[in-house]
């Protein structure tokens, strides 16, 4: 960018009103617009996945499989899983908030490769469209885990097509990760050293590492599956000379780290929320930063804990179990440090903070129950029961989605220039928290009682827990619809936010809301560490006014 262009962007021109044509959106290279494009994409898939979730919950209201056929039910839970994981959770925070914020937080004008960034979105849309086509042309019934030989030989649904969609979608994830890594390495503002980076950036760096290193493995795995299915090449089916357990190793080599692709960015968001809503530097900044990297690295070494009952070698299982406990420690470190950050802070209980607090509570339960599943002797009983379902929903919904929503509320004024209605924000946060617990807590109980996952019909003694769960899911659904309405409303009618409404620290708050296309009208120079609130002009101004009136 030249100086002339920077000067032009001053004033009322911002990234939203800088071009109104469809082309100006669909061919944009602006990371902020691409972030919004992703927001529309993943919101669509989230709604779709949510509808499937409701269908599952409604079917399970009664023990008999009476609402839909077994075949339909199997397709419904598979679609729920695939959509939520591959088309919502994995892209959610990195592609929306990460895309929007990373360059702003770095004081950069864009990501390192803007065209690649746009391409990532198109790949995502193409893969998503393909998957929708899979859906209308019969769907798939393998579960999101695609275990062969069922998926490769026995299922007569659209497995190959779905596999290709996921294969293609992987490239979107890889390219985003690559883009972020290069951006973080090369595009930091003058003075922005590694240990002056916000923790959101650290978390995204760790996430990108997993995306770049892990995603190719799942791509190869689904490709191998497609080869076996279409060309009868024996890789996984023993009748063709393959080994079904090999697939599980390959699948979880990616899919366990993928869990960290989903949760790490959310941890980054929560670090930002807690620091800014308490106006305190994150306690143990270095520990929180490095724990993200530790999770990314150790996360690659624990995949076998999904396979304790699979006939995997007992001693291999023990190694996986041990390393799984090692990966629990960095998560615990983060939780303790967040708690310590709140101590003696200046705590605002606005909506983003409510989400951050909910995250700490729910993630603690999700993480602790993960230790049950990593404990081999106990996992034998719990494996593939509703206990597992409850556990990963505590991490994925209670962790990843709660963090995403908290972040969306926190940065909404930056993205749109408008505030959402605070009172409705708090109401829906509370509804989501209650609805979530009512949905998933009973599943821990029914899981320990022995209710297996992926059951269309079940024995009647489990019904009471399923009724509670379905009731909770209804509440949760309402909780998710409210923000959808008020966010849409706020774009037009919300109160104008100004550059730094909270006020918060961080470079993204030093530019206009919404930011100009070039992000900054000057090149920011960073002279201090992150979360130093005595440097935030808005807080200084408020303090000055208070002193005057007193």
């Amino acid at each position: 960018m030249t100086n002339v262009e920077i000067e032009k962007s001053e004033g009322e021109v911002n990234y939203l009103n800088n071009g109104h044509t469809v082309k100006s959106w669909l061919l944009t290279l602006d990371h902020k617009r691409i972030g919004l494009l992703y927001l529309f994409g993943i919101s669509f898939f989230f709604a779709l996945g949510g509808i499937y979730a409701m269908l599952v919950r409604l079917e399970l209201l009664t023990p008999q499989g009476d609402m839909m056929t077994a075949e339909t039910y199997n397709k419904v839970f598979t679609m729920h899983g695939v959509i939520m994981i591959f088309f919502f959770l994995i892209p959610s925070i990195p592609a929306v908030l990460g895309n929007f914020l990373l360059p702003l937080m770095l004081g950069a004008k864009d990501v390192a490769f803007p065209k690649l960034n746009l391409m990532s979105w198109y790949i995502f849309i193409i893969a998503g469209t393909m998957f929708l086509f899979t859906m209308i042309s019969g769907g798939i019934d393998t579960g999101w885990t695609f275990y062969p030989p069922y998926s490769s030989i026995y299922s007569n649904t659209q497995v190959t097509l779905a596999g290709v969609a996921i294969f293609i979608n992987g490239f979107s994830s890889i390219l985003t990760g690559l883009n972020f890594m290069v951006t973080i390495h090369t595009m930091r503002a003058p003075g922005l050293t590694w240990f002056r980076l916000p923790l959101f950036v650290w978390a995204h760096y760790a996430t990108s590492l997993i995306q770049v290193l892990g995603t190719p493995v799942v791509a190869i795995t689904v490709l191998a599956l497609a080869f076996e299915r279409t060309l009868q090449i024996g890789i996984f089916d023993p009748k063709l000379g393959g080994d079904p357990v090999l697939f599980q190793h390959m699948f979880w080599f990616y899919s366990h780290p993928a869990v960290y692709i989903m949760i790490l960015p959310s941890m980054g968001v929560v670090s930002e929320l807690i620091a800014n809503m308490t106006r305190k530097r994150v306690f143990g900044y270095h520990f929180v930063a490095f724990s993200s990297l530790a999770i990314a690295v150790f996360g690659f070494l624990v995949w076998g804990h999904h396979m304790f009952t699979s006939s995997q070698s007992m001693y291999a299982g023990m190694v996986f179990s041990l390393i799984t406990y090692a990966v629990a420690i960095p998560s615990a470190i983060k939780t303790f440090n967040w708690t310590a950050t709140i101590f003696r802070g200046s705590v605002s209980l606005d909506t983003p903070m409510l989400y951050a607090l909910a995250f700490i509570g729910l993630f603690t339960v999700g993480g602790m129950t993960g230790m049950f599943l990593a404990a081999m002797g106990l996992d034998v009983h719990l494996h593939d029961t509703y206990f597992v379902v409850a556990h990963f929903h505590y991490v994925m919904v209670g962790g990843a989605i709660i963090g995403y929503l908290g972040g969306l509320h926190f940065w909404w004024p930056k993205m749109t220039g408008r505030m959402y209605p605070e009172i409705w924000g708090r109401v829906s946060a509370v509804i989501i928290f209650l609805g979530f617990n009512l949905t998933f807590f009973p599943q821990f109980i029914v899981g320990y009682l022995g209710m297996p996952r992926r059951y269309h019909a079940y024995v009647p003694e489990y019904q009471v827990w399923h009724i509670l769960s379905t009731a909770g899911a209804s509440l949760l659904g309402i909780g998710f619809i409210i923000p959808l309405i008020y966010f849409a409303w706020s774009i037009k009618y919300g109160e104008k936010a100004g550059p730094n409404p909270w006020p918060a620290s961080g470079l993204e708050w030093q530019t206009a809301s919404p930011p100009p296309t070039e992000n900054f009208t000057y090149t920011p120079v960073v002279t201090h560490e992150p979360y130093e609130f005595e440097h935030v002009a808005e807080i200084q101004e408020a303090a000055r006014l208070e002193a005057q009136s007193a």
Binding site: G317, R344, M376, D384
Partner: protein
């Protein structure tokens, strides 16, 4: 808490309760801390800037090291239970289980067969050897706290000791297709007298080893594995449970998995000294028939690796009377040697 009906049940439950308590302590502690801090330190004025605390190395070390030691304890406890679960005892009643979309077949050592039910005597160690005819399944008995995947192409085993007569759920817990949730059944644990009555009243087919013997003749296995000098294949008396030397010089233990592989894929691991002449029986024999052949080979083996219970053994005195086989050799390892010549 689900019903406790095996020796593992209380062990697992105790561990579970310990972890629940730990979770409650941690979650409540963090929950209270977060809740109290959030209310106590609420923002008092718009311009408030709290005193900054940089962090404290001593705290970081504390909350890294203490959870680490605790998790090591949890790991060891879990690994110990797991080790017991997956180390079957030498002496056990052996039942062969086949999973198939969407039913469970069980074959008892005396020849009783059942589908989607499993009758067991109380207070006896039971070992299940399992395989699948098609896709992955998993054999889960919540009241016993045991579960093992049933994998096509290989044998998996699980064991338990029922402690309480009663009827318990049996679930398939590895997603296996359309009627996955219908692949359920019951496990009935009986008092010894009732169990004996059940054994007597259930139509008894040939015991697996006897059925295997018939198959062995029917499939003309004995043409080559018949035992005389110059036979094209090794004689199989006394082979089970011994180390065999392969043509590439490595040794392999002749266990169920090896025998199964050698029936379905004979040239994968060929005993030294024999040509690649055996055809595959893949597709010609069902998994149950493979199991019967193996039961026969075990019966003519030197020693039963996990001998069936006295009652069951009494029901199958057959092996000694096998026409093709000499009486069980007193020096079994020697018995397999002379065939090579």
């Amino acid at each position: 808490m689900p019903e406790q009906a095996s020796t593992f049940a209380w062990e697992v439950d105790l561990f579970y309760i310990a972890l629940v308590l730990l979770t409650v302590v941690f979650s409540v502690a963090i929950g209270i801390a977060v809740f109290v801090f959030s209310l106590q330190y609420r923002r008092k004025s718009a311009g408030e800037i709290p005193a900054q605390i940089e962090g404290a190395m001593i705290l970081e070390i504390t909350w890294t090291v203490i959870p680490f030691i605790m998790t090591l304890g949890i790991f060891a406890w879990g690994a110990k239970i797991y080790y017991n679960m997956y180390t079957p005892p030498k002496e056990a009643l052996e039942i062969f289980v086949t999973g198939k979309q969407w039913m469970w077949r069980a074959q008892h050592p005396d020849g009783q067969r059942e589908i989607n039910t499993l009758h067991l005597p109380v207070n006896r160690r039971i070992k299940l050897t399992m395989t699948s005819e098609d896709v992955l399944h998993s054999y889960f008995i919540p009241a016993f706290r045991t579960k093992t995947d049933v994998v096509p192409g290989r044998y998996t085993t699980t064991w338990f000791e029922p402690t309480k007569p009663g009827t318990y759920h049996l679930f398939c817990t590895e997603y296996c297709g359309t009627q996955h949730s219908g692949m359920i059944g019951t496990v009935t644990v009986l008092d010894p007298a009732d169990y004996q009555a059940w054994l007597n009243n259930t139509t008894r087919e040939l015991a697996p080893s006897k059925a295997g013997e018939k198959l062995f003749a029917g499939l003309a296995c004995n043409n080559c594995h018949g035992g005389p000098v110059d036979a094209r294949g090794p004689a199989l008396e006394g082979v089970f449970g011994t180390q065999q030397t392969l043509d590439n010089g490595t040794k392999v233990l002749a266990d169920e998995t090896y025998l199964r592989e050698s029936i379905l894929n004979p040239n994968a691991k060929r005993v030294a000294g024999y040509g690649a002449v055996m055809p595959t029986f893949q597709g010609q024999v069902t998994e149950e028939q493979v199991a019967q052949l193996i039961a026969y080979i075990k019966a003519i083996g030197p020693k039963m690796e996990s001998s069936t219970a006295p009652a069951a053994a009494a029901g199958t005195p057959a092996p000694a009377a096998t026409p093709a086989a000499p009486p069980p050799a007193a020096a079994p390892t020697a018995a397999s040697q002379p065939k090579k010549n």
